[in-house]
């Protein structure tokens, strides 16, 4: 049984401008210890997908469809207390901006300890011991000072380490990392990335690593899924994806980002903007921006076409063995 299995997940928000389809029939699964990179421009539905995995979308004005099986349990059918028992214990989250994701009026120590009290029933002393251990694990240089600090008193890098410590407090099996390095300084980005990669290996964590940076994805992931307008448009093992991008959108992304060994090549941004999710076209959502779009693209929604073993792309003009 897969650790996580997402089937036909859809998330819709009722807004003033109509029903926004933020996630549309997303399916993938993840084995223990596997790292999946979730790629795509901002607004493509990555964060909404992660929130749906934890069942965090509020009931009002939101419709969540499909299945999210965590160790066989469907999150969408669990009641709130049972979901809370999964969160932080089986599935943990690291957010993009630790400054806003940590409570400003609680110390780091209190925020780690309360997680342990919630799931493990630790008493004060045990929670404190474990909190210190965790800060050692995430390589915080002066753990005692950090435990007693409020979030605004430590640096951005330390805050993100503290956030990771909270996420790992109850030894989860799956870590959802939502652009965990995007908000940090460049040098700190690399440190946090190495730390996450190191922890993933040592603890055998499964990770969904959300990023719009292909270089970062290449560093950490085994597998990659590219999202566009709430749909997965291409999925492949990470090396295969870089070697043979099959979807025009993935190719566009690659031309638009800097990668190692490609210095000196001009960056070509993808022309146009992502579609309005309240009025998605009937055909391929990428058609207005696609350099090779033809009439069928605007009429019928492409389904997944195999490119090679374990490599699929949602494009009418994919041929097995190579890109269109």
């Amino acid at each position: 049984m897969a650790l996580l299995s997402v089937r036909e997940l859809s998330v819709e928000f009722a807004t003033r401008d109509g029903v926004v389809s933020a996630v549309n029939g997303v399916s993938f699964s993840l084995e223990a210890g596997q790292v999946l990179a979730l790629l795509g421009e901002s607004g493509s539905g990555k964060s909404v997908t992660l929130r749906a995995i934890l069942g965090l979308h509020p009931a009002v004005r939101t419709r969540v469809g499909g299945e999210v099986l965590v160790k066989g349990q469907d999150v969408n059918r669990l009641d709130e207390p049972s979901r809370a028992r999964l969160r932080g214990r089986i599935v943990s989250t690291v957010f993009q901006e630790p400054m806003t994701a940590l409570d400003p009026v609680y110390t780091i120590g209190e925020q780690i300890a309360e997680t342990l009290r919630q799931h493990r029933g630790h008493d004060h002393a045990a929670a404190r011991r474990r909190a210190r251990e965790l800060l050692d694990l995430v390589q915080v240089p002066s753990p005692d000072r950090c435990l007693a600090s409020y979030p605004h008193e430590i640096s951005g890098g330390m805050r993100q380490r503290a956030m990771i410590a909270i996420a790992l407090a109850c030894e989860p099996e799956l870590l959802l990392a939502d652009e965990p390095t995007t908000a940090l300084d460049v040098t700190v980005q690399a440190q946090i990335l190495w730390l996450l990669r190191d922890l993933q290996k040592r603890l055998g964590l499964a990770v969904i690593f959300v990023t719009h940076d292909l270089g970062v994805a290449a560093e950490i992931a085994d597998e990659a899924a590219v999202m566009y307008a709430g749909r997965i448009v291409e999925q492949a093992p990470i090396r295969e994806l870089f070697r043979r991008p099959a979807h025009p959108y993935t190719e566009g992304l690659m031309h638009a980002t800097v990668r190692r060994g490609q210095k000196g090549r001009p960056l070509v941004p993808i022309p146009g903007a992502p579609p309005n999710l309240a009025v998605l076209p009937p055909g391929c959502a990428f058609a207005p921006r696609c350099p090779i779009a033809r009439d069928p693209c605007r009429i019928t929604l492409p389904s997944f076409h195999p490119v090679s073993d374990g490599h699929v792309a949602r494009c009418h003009f994919v041929t097995p063995g190579g890109s269109s």
Binding site: R51, L54, L56, V60, E80, P81, A84, R85, L86, R87, G88, R89, S92, T93, F95, E97, T100, A101, L102, D103, P104, V105, Y106, E114, T115, Q118, H119, Y150, H152, E153, M163, I166, A167, A169
Partner: protein, 312 residues
């Protein structure tokens, strides 16, 4: 924390001095002879001489002010023109009565307003939220003297459950309680509305922050998340509570008049109609001091709750 407290205390001093100067100036701004402003018309020559000496009307204004301030500092606020009693006694008694009313109405409004505001925020958009908003709007928009009159008509005149006038001097604690019930309710309406609205919006601000999502994402039980939200909205809640308590002390002139409740508002009212300048001076000075100290207390309480204020 302590240096911050000291700094705030020092800042309070000029405010208090400013208030005392205005109060002092009232004697000289009143039309006619300053002696006439502070002395009853039928005072004996000896009394007039004593007052002249105390105020030092022959000396420069600055000296007069300092002499007067020295006496005020010792608790001597002069004598009432109307009753000849020492003003300090009248002010003390009325302040006690007003404080009782301010406290009871504040407690009522704080308790219900905070609970309603928090519930409304956590049930945003549901019927409970709408009901709380309706209560808040009614509380703020009904004039409280009018509410007082309605309360008297219903509970005193029709039902004859509760007394409508005075404070039952010498009637014992139970009679006092019965007398203060209706003015308490009338005075609680506005702060109840204001507090409900402010607490609701403060809690909603916090609820929309990302860390609340993060707390839920780590599996924290709803009641623990609730504690986080309350603690984060506490500075805003304390501010509105402190301000409302201040308004309760100063804003009860009309309600005290409607219920003939012998508080500072009632005394102020009386003093204005009787042109009793010493009483007016005494009440205003004591109330001003009280407001400044109250603001200070609220500020310091906030720094205890929110570590960011004092440490920066």
């Amino acid at each position: 924390m302590w240096t911050y407290a000291g700094r705030r205390l020092l800042l309070a001093i000029p405010t208090l001095l400013g208030a005392s100067i205005i109060v002092f100036a009232m004697v000289h701004l009143a039309p006619g002879d300053p002696i006439a402003a502070v002395m009853p018309a039928e005072s004996s020559q000896a009394e007039i001489e004593a007052t002249k000496k105390a105020y030092g009307f022959d000396k420069p204004l600055a000296v007069q002010y300092l002499v007067w301030l020295g006496r005020v500092a010792q608790g001597d606020l002069g004598r009432s023109i109307a009753t000849r009693r020492a003003v300090i006694l009248d002010v003390r008694d009325s302040l006690a009565n007003s404080l009782v009313l301010a406290l009871s109405s504040s407690l009522l409004a704080f308790g219900i307003g905070t609970a309603l505001g928090l519930l409304a925020a956590f049930r945003q958009g549901r019927w409970l939220d709408k009901a709380a908003s309706a209560i808040a709007v009614i509380g703020v928009s009904v004039p409280h003297y009018w509410a007082g009159i309605i309360l008297i008509i219903v509970f005193s005149v029709w039902l004859n459950w509760l007394p409508a006038m005075g404070a039952a001097d010498g009637g014992g604690p139970l009679a006092y309680l019965r007398h203060m019930t209706l003015p308490t309710v009338a005075l609680a309406l506005i702060p109840l509305g204001v507090i409900t609205r402010v607490v609701r919006s403060a809690a909603l601000d916090v609820l929309n922050q990302e860390f609340v999502l993060a707390l839920r994402a780590k599996g924290l039980a709803a009641r623990r998340v609730f504690t986080h939200v309350v603690k984060n909205s506490a500075p805003q809640i304390f501010t509105v509570l402190g301000l409302q308590f201040g308004f309760q002390l100063g804003g009860s002139v009309l309600v005290e008049a409607v219920f003939s409740w012998p508080g500072t508002g009632y005394l102020l009212n009386l003093a204005i109609f009787q042109r009793d300048i010493p009483v007016l001076q005494g009440v205003i000075l004591v109330l001003a001091t009280f407001f400044v100290l109250l603001n200070l207390a609220v500020d310091l309480l906030q720094t205890l709750v929110d570590p960011r204020i004092a440490r920066h």
